[in-house]
């Protein structure tokens, strides 16, 4: 009650390290890989690296909001698969890219709004809600594709995933755009600040006149649409809708956010750090590929990195 331990005036360097945390780790990791990992710094590899993280990056934008508001979304991997498959099926039947994309985004919005409604209005825990929709939507993806990959016949559609502008693949541009837009929303709009307040203390936010339920429903809907969009981009890259794709993707995205210092209990998160988290995960994976580390070991390494990051964060907070 009465231990008003004022934070200590810290050394400028220590304060900087504290503030910059994962950005410093990212810089060191990048420098280290550039020096020690052969081919890492080649344009071709960097292009590949950026493309590899583009999907995680996109979805991490909305996942940041979800976590910052104190919720979870596990259903995104299923939405990625289902939206890709549905887009493929609709495109093949109607010969229209627009209708296919609209159908894919539509299913994402539907799943998202359902998640949001159940979590916000019916007050069911987000973990359980999205665990359920994850399975429902995965199943739906299998049903509409009959369990098989759906090849896409409209070649124009492939340019979404495989074209490039100034040598940078289109999905990477899209992801960069998402980072900018969602970073702006988080920091510079009432909605963004409300999101953090809802995650920090939903009851206090409600009593300060913030429409807590609406904030949550919007976030889940955005999350669904974003995952669906990522699924459509993926379908375009691999020229088909795959009902089996992206299993475990939700954990990859959440890992990247946690690595970027987003609090799982809500209220804390920043876009710059999430970008760092996404890139750290991507660089580690990329470096391991270049060094020919077997896939099995990569899982172990990724898990260890996540654990280390969380422990580091805990240690830092203890120190304060």
């Amino acid at each position: 009650m009465s231990s008003a331990a004022a934070p200590a005036p810290r050394q400028p360097l220590a304060a900087f390290l504290d503030q910059a945390g994962m950005l410093v780790v990212l810089a060191i990791l990048f420098a280290g890989c550039s020096v020690f990992v052969e081919n890492f710094l080649s344009w071709r590899n960097l292009q590949g690296l950026a493309l590899a993280v583009s999907m995680t990056g996109m979805v991490a934008c909305t996942m940041l909001f979800c976590l910052a508001a104190g919720d979870f979304d596990l259903s995104i991997s299923s939405v990625v698969a289902c939206a890709g498959v549905l887009a493929a099926v609709v495109m093949n039947q109607t010969e229209s890219i627009t209708l296919g994309v609209a159908a894919g985004l539509g299913i994402g919005a539907l799943v998202g709004i359902t998640n949001g409604y159940v979590v916000a209005k019916l007050r069911i825990n987000a973990l359980i809600t999205t665990l359920a929709t994850m399975q429902i939507v995965r199943g739906f993806g299998f049903i509409i594709s009959d369990g098989k990959a759906v090849g896409i016949g409209l070649e124009d559609f492939f340019s979404l995933g495989s074209s490039a502008l100034f040598g940078v693949p289109t999905p990477v541009w899209i992801t960069a755009g998402c980072f900018a837009i969602f970073g702006f929303i988080l920091n510079r709009t009432v909605f963004g600040r409300d999101t953090l307040a809802v995650g920090g203390n939903a009851e206090a936010a409600h009593l300060a006149g913030i429409a807590v339920d609406r904030v949550k429903i919007i976030i889940f809907t955005a999350q669904g649409v974003m995952a669906a969009f990522a699924g459509i981009v993926l379908a375009s890259r691999i020229t088909s809708g795959q009902p089996n794709t992206s299993q475990g993707f939700e954990l990859e995205v959440i890992s990247a956010c946690v690595l970027g210092g987003v609090s799982l209990t809500g209220g804390v998160g920043s876009m710059a750090f999430v970008i760092a988290g996404v890139l750290i995960m991507g660089i580690v994976q990329n470096a391991m590929n270049l060094m020919n580390v077997a896939t099995f070991y990569q899982y172990v390494a990724r898990g260890l990195i996540l654990l280390a990051a969380v422990l580091f964060d805990r240690w830092k907070r203890r120190k304060q």
Partner: protein
């Protein structure tokens, strides 16, 4: 004979702040020892050292003359020390018996011996005169009963030194009586009791000796009989407080809030009253009398089933806090931590939480300049002590957190401000500042409604005082007519009043 517990030159340094500085005093066996001081004086730190949660950076503890150091709470427990905190450390999903013996359940071959457990639990509960079924799930008990369980738990571990941290802050009057009886019983059995509280009446009623801390330093240890209340307050704040309420009469500023036939959860009958603009209307009552519920109905955070609310003659439709705020009705909730602050966000964020919606460009984009200016001006106006507006609010003391919530509402256009226990858990200095803010608000024409369980407070700040009893509005008294006795008599349930 050596004292049961002695602090000898205890210091505790956190980075940049000295929470305790060379504190020495004794606590005797068979005595109730009050520990008082403003927030930040070091009381909690001292308790944490006692419980083994902190290791002091200087000085030592002695138990019955033997110096001891505790590296962990388990060691302090083993040495017969129990600290009972405001947030009780019990498991609501488990039974009373299981809670009592948590960590050392009676076992037969590694399995819990249910019968032995129930019998042992019943014995322990009898010791403190608590008639409870040990099989009851803890979560179904009232806060007062849980506290009794916590005390019984301390005794099952053979505690001889028992410290209480603000034990009465969420107890009803009757529960407080029970607690005091048991604390006195502990004393007569030779336990040393350390009692931390902000409530002066309790300290004078219950305690034998007192130690006063200020800014981490030991100010005085004395027999309570030798001190007056004023002397204690003076030692706590280091200056003399003439009149901490700063009350000045003001003429009513015009028509204000009129509530007619308000019904809803927590109210036993329709509630009708009015409060003029510029008036301070106090609400006194026991816990559970329906005062907080009434405020929630006015603020739209609970749904009313009937009744009309008007302000300055205009009918108000309020079904959510958002609508209430738009109508100029705002609430500082009772439970600051749970309902008031967003702990992980800054003072600035917490100040602008509500008003930013109306200041934003196009209602969407943050008005950065306004955010900065408003947070700086409001916190300066209310004299919030914080290194900067970017400090996380959870690092502020309770009084300063409360001021930030007031700052949040001063950023809005306020007609009616509802204050639910505005000074609970706040030290005397900050209390006085909050009373000044309340008077200033009324002088500027705001209609102020203050709910308080502290008689001196409700008498000190209000122009008129409404008393609630069992969900009903019992009476409204003018300041001049109201006395502690009258208010208490009106507030007590009818059976009890007749009995006493």
């Amino acid at each position: 004979m050596s004292p049961a517990l002695a602090f000898d030159g205890v210091s505790m340094a956190f980075p940049g702040v000295k929470a305790l500085d060379d504190v020495s005093f004794d606590v005797r066996a068979g005595s109730i020892h009050a520990l008082m001081g403003e927030n930040g004086a070091g009381k909690s730190t001292l308790l944490k050292i006692l419980s083994g949660a902190y290791t002091p950076s200087g000085g030592s503890l002695a138990l019955a003359g033997r110096p001891r150091t505790f590296g962990a709470t388990a060691q302090a427990l083993a040495a017969g020390i129990a600290v009972i905190y405001q947030e009780l450390h019990l498991v609501p999903e488990m039974s009373v018996a299981e809670n009592l013996f948590l960590g050392h359940l009676p076992q037969t071959c590694g399995l819990v011996n249910r019968r032995a457990l129930a019998a042992a639990a019943r014995r322990q509960l009898e010791l403190i005169g608590e008639d409870l079924d040990p099989e009851t799930k803890l979560g179904t008990l009232s806060l007062g009963q849980r506290q009794m369980v916590e005390i019984a738990k301390a005794l099952t571990r053979g505690a001889r030194i028992i410290a209480f941290d603000e034990p009465t802050s969420s107890l009803s009057d009757r529960e407080v009586r029970r607690l005091f009886t048991i604390i006195r019983e502990l004393r007569s059995r030779g336990c040393a009791v350390l009692y931390v509280s902000h409530r002066m009446e309790e300290i004078f009623e219950l305690c034998d000796r007192i130690t006063i801390l200020r800014d981490g330093r030991h100010v005085d240890t004395a027999d309570l009989a030798t001190l007056t209340r004023d002397a204690v307050v003076q030692r706590m704040v280091g200056r003399k407080l003439a009149d901490i309420y700063n009350y000045t009469p003001r003429p009513p500023a015009g028509p204000g809030l009129v509530v007619a036939g308000l019904c809803g959860p927590g109210l036993a009958e329709p509630c009708t009253f009015s409060a003029a603009a510029g008036e301070i209307l106090g609400f006194f009552g026991l816990i559970g009398a329906g005062r907080s519920e009434l405020l929630k109905l006015l603020f739209g955070s609970a749904e009313k089933t009937a009744g009309r609310v008007t302000f300055a003659g205009r009918a108000l439709t309020i079904t959510s806090p958002r609508q209430a705020i738009e109508a100029g009705i705002v609430l500082c909730p009772e439970d600051r931590k749970k309902e008031g602050i967003v702990p992980v966000r800054s003072v600035l964020e917490n100040t602008n939480l509500s008003a930013r919606r109306r200041q934003a460009h196009a209602g969407l984009f943050i008005h950065e300049a306004w955010e900065q200016t408003n947070a700086r001006e409001r916190t300066a106006q209310l004299r919030v002590k914080t290194p900067s507006v970017h400090q996380l609010i959870r690092n502020l003391s309770g009084g300063n957190q409360q001021k930030v919530i007031l700052a949040r509402w001063l950023s809005e256009k306020v007609n009616v401000i509802l204050l639910d226990e505005p000074t609970r858990g706040i030290d005397v200095g900050a209390k006085s500042e909050i009373y000044t803010i309340i008077q200033d608000l009324a002088r500027s024409g705001v209609c102020v409604i203050v709910v308080s369980s502290e008689l001196p407070e409700v008498l000190g700040v209000s122009d008129r005082i409404a008393v609630m009893r069992q969900g009903k509005l019992a009476a409204i008294l003018d300041r001049a007519d109201a006395t502690e006795e009258k208010l208490l008599k009106l507030a007590l349930p009818l059976e009890t009043a007749r009995a006493s």
